[in-house]
């Protein structure tokens, strides 16, 4: 479920790689809302990294409202993803993500309508998948 490998020679710090991976897994529905995450120590052992690094990633995700910690039980995907970001920050993050898509699309010589329809298609697929994926 959380199987992923780190790129230790990457310019992205390890804790950030974990944050990005979990964010993506939640967005894709690979991690269900309310699902429990492995204890930080277990994940650290699996990835062969310092447990504090995982703890730090979890903390950031809790702060951002993606995960929540239930004391004495563990860390879970937040039952309902809270919007903890301001409108400005949401805009900034979306703009950043779109920028990546834009560069790639330009390099590959796609037109705006093509990009738009590709996005819409993926959006729909994602909707059906997360609904069929059994949101209990």
């Amino acid at each position: 479920m959380l199987a992923f490998s780190l790129v230790p020679t990457s310019d992205v710090p390890i804790y950030r790689q974990i944050v990005q991976h979990i964010r993506r897994a939640v967005a894709q529905g690979k991690l269900q809302l309310g699902e429990q995450l492995p204890p930080g120590r277990t994940l650290a052992e699996e990835l062969v990294i310092n447990p504090n690094t995982v703890a730090r990633a979890y903390q950031e995700l809790i702060r951002d409202g993606v995960l929540e910690s239930r004391s004495g039980v563990g860390v879970f995907v937040a039952a309902r993803v809270r919007q903890v970001f301001s409108q400005a920050e949401r805009d900034r993050r979306l703009a950043h993500a779109i920028e990546q898509v834009l560069y790639e699309a330009l390099l590959l010589d796609f037109s705006l309508p093509e990009v738009r329809s590709a996005l819409e298609e993926q959006w729909k697929t994602h909707q059906t998948q997360t609904q069929a994926g059994g949101r209990k």
Binding site: P8, S10, D11, P13, E45, I49, P51, A55
Partner: protein, 312 residues
């Protein structure tokens, strides 16, 4: 994570200076390692890492300054304190005529707290068996044996001098796993030197960088990465002469670009960059390795294939 602040540091080095004859190898070095920390000790070869380690272990005398381990003066560490330290010297030396099992028995005879389970677990990790002759082992296997011998007494403080030297990727991973395994108990401390920055990034809480006899950084890995920044400035024409300001580590120029690596980035530096009036300033993320190389590499301007003269 380190806990109580009242507790004395496990390792405490205070204004350590060391001369070999007339040659100064360590200059006024101070550092502290808190209990429960995995501490990575970095620096290029010949910068005094091994000497530092040997001095705080009491194997060499300081010319000036002092060192303490567990709050005790390094020069007079009693045997009880030494028994709490596991030291893996550089080079993985073994008694070649002994078998793996005999090495274990020999070492165990010195340590009342010998844990045979740990010894065997580490051996298995490195695929070693009792009957193998120590002298016939490969480098990685020898490292595994040494590590097993060092870990089995369950030391409170583990000191590893370049433990990954000459290991293949699989053995290195086993080494890291063993290190993390040891520190599952919160009161265990590891101090290790290494050149493998991706390994350091995986396991270290904090790093110290020794450069030219002097300690230049002592912080978390993350902090180190944040402090060293890299910018690419694009110009319409040839870039202006490289500005010289404190904190500039490295610069690199091409036809229309100027790449600068700086340490301790401040808003003032941003103004400096703006003042060059580039078309754009693009920050570039560095890997820990890039950051380290910029930090301890040769300082000054580098030009591409031009022997220091202006490009073209």
């Amino acid at each position: 994570m380190s806990t109580a602040t009242t507790e004395p540091p496990v390792i405490e080095i205070d204004h350590l200076t060391k001369y070999y004859g007339r040659r100064e190898v360590i200059s006024d070095l101070s550092l502290q390692v808190a209990r429960g920390t995995i501490y990575g000790f970095l620096g290029r070869n010949g910068m005094g890492k091994t000497t530092t380690i040997r001095t705080f272990l009491g194997l060499e005398d300081a010319t000036r300054g002092s060192a303490r381990v567990f709050g005790l003066d390094s020069r007079t560490l009693p045997p009880e304190a030494r028994a709490r330290i596991g030291y893996l010297p550089e080079g993985h030396h073994v008694y070649g005529w002994m078998t793996v099992k005999e090495c274990g028995q020999f070492q165990a005879s010195y340590y009342p707290a010998w844990n045979q389970d740990i010894f065997e677990t580490v051996l298995t990790h490195f695929r070693l068996t009792a009957k193998m002759k120590a002298g016939h082992l490969s480098r990685g296997q020898r490292a595994g044996l040494c590590l097993a011998l060092t870990l089995a007494p369950e030391p409170e403080l583990l000191v590893l001098d370049d433990p990954a030297l000459g290991l293949d990727p699989v053995a290195r991973r086993s080494l890291l796993q063993s290190m993390l395994y040891v520190t599952r108990k919160a009161d265990r401390t590891i101090f290790f030197s290494s050149h493998l920055l991706s390994d350091v990034e995986r396991v270290a809480d904090r790093i110290a960088v020794l450069d030219g006899k002097v300690l230049r950084a002592d912080c978390t890995v993350e902090k180190f990465r944040q402090q060293i920044r890299h910018f690419v400035l694009k110009f319409r024409d040839q870039p202006p002469p490289t500005p010289n300001f404190p904190g500039l580590l490295e610069s690199f120029r091409t036809d229309r670009e100027l790449a600068l690596t700086v340490v301790n980035y401040t808003p003032q530096m941003e103004n400096r960059l703006e003042a060059l009036q580039p078309m754009s300033i693009e920050p570039v993320d560095l890997t820990l390795e890039d950051a380290f190389i910029s930090y301890v590499g040769e300082r000054g301007e580098k030009t591409f294939f031009t022997n220091g003269k202006d490009a073209r």
